[in-house]
Subunit: 308 residues, 2 copies
Amino acid sequence: MKDDLYPSRSSTQPRTYERKDPVFYGKGTSNCPISSQDLQGYIENGVMVLEDMFSAEEVASLQTAANSMRQNANTLQAETVVTEPSAERNDIVRSVFAIHQQSDVFANIAASERLSDIARFILNDDVYIHQSRLNYKPGFHGKEFYWHSDFETWHVEDGMPRMRALSMSVMLTDNHSQAGPTMFVSGSHNSFVSCTGETPDENYKKSLKKQEVGVPDADILTHMVETGNIIAPTPPAGSVVIFDCNTMHGSNGNITPLERTNAFFVYNAWSNRLTTPYGGTKERPEFIAHRLVDRPLVAASKKSIQAA
Amino acid sequence: MKDDLYPSRSSTQPRTYERKDPVFYGKGTSNCPISSQDLQGYIENGVMVLEDMFSAEEVASLQTAANSMRQNANTLQAETVVTEPSAERNDIVRSVFAIHQQSDVFANIAASERLSDIARFILNDDVYIHQSRLNYKPGFHGKEFYWHSDFETWHVEDGMPRMRALSMSVMLTDNHSQAGPTMFVSGSHNSFVSCTGETPDENYKKSLKKQEVGVPDADILTHMVETGNIIAPTPPAGSVVIFDCNTMHGSNGNITPLERTNAFFVYNAWSNRLTTPYGGTKERPEFIAHRLVDRPLVAASKKSIQAA
């Protein structure tokens, strides 16, 4: 077993560990690409919402690209397409992974200065895309996604050493509070919740549909929610929700007719690249956790995004 | 087949019928027990929220009664206790029916002037309790309840002739927008959504856990939500949500740690008592749809509620 600051799935007792890494790695706020108020909120809550990041025209072109990927899912790398969990609905696409490798539009968005400069600033390092995906939450039958810290999975199953990564969710549709928006527990990023249970082989084949290991303890969650708050941002299309890799989040199901779609990019610090999984399991496939990355992301200018 | 203004589950094509009954049966607003603004909102939306209807002390005594019924569910009439649908959680109580017959506290609340006067005023008739229940939505694993019109079921399965009934949900806990609050489609009470499919025998045994017939068509629902709005009131404990018997409603699941409990009373007009079921099926049992009622509800004074 290698040295592990954040052990999980190795004990029968759930517990929490103090976070041993900064949330904001920068040295000050000069050249900060966001307001200092937004930055402060992010440091405190582990999540922030930036509205009006993409224009209506840009959103329309992203939506077109997203719909086209969903409709032509059979032309994509098969394993990158994840369908709804229930047997009756397993023809409905829930997520498409590795979108920055399968679409120029999403490659450009991921590299765009608007997004990547924020990641570089907060992580104070070069960055690369650890994971990207499109999430479609369908109307009427969208399933819940139980509480989890992404870092817990990325650490145990992918070998991400430290908490030096963040996620950006680009809203391609307006959000409604009852359509199963992502919920965050504010302040939860400051504790690492060590989970019980062992990781089965090829766990990702199940966990992408329904997570059953790496599930935080109910009493710990209850305490976190009593200490923090549940924040469920529902900003309009064109907004970006940015959250720390260790912020506890999840979402309820959606019986409303309202669909929601977002594009999701995980920026990891170049110095925090994957090692062997801390849980001792086999590496997960490249499309979920990129390892074959030979250089950091090069920021694309604003112009090149619009051309996409 | 008897004459039926609101046919449902008798055709393979879903459709809507215009409502043929008033929402407000009264002749004016003299002696109106609620504000005319609240009344107007109820007529337009099919739902209204009245805050501060019960004091903190009254809520505490109702909560005590509710918790005691849940904890001592084995002392109640067995068929009135409904558990969560999934096999792993079928020891968790989801609802208790006929609470006004099994608890003095809830009998007093149901008869209280504060509630029953509003029902008598809106329905412009004597009233009685058609159904009562406690709903417990547990934290972490609360299941969704799909969209439905109560009247559709009460008409087809219970023989309720006309839309002259309303429901009151008394909030015993604070509500959170992400804890699966009841959602209403505003304006939906003005159309009757005729559903497809036939009613199986003893359908209630399944439908109390998960409704599979009497389910409105997705395109009709989408149209209703485009025309109206989804209203998901989250008022504090002690509030009462009142809605028309034909207002389309449902709720999402709840993965938050936050539980919610409400006491639910359906007031039917005395002149609108049950006949034989319009769907031609056997009458449902008394605890779900009261028939053995020999006189209208007698309003209890404020004093007698507090004494409960």
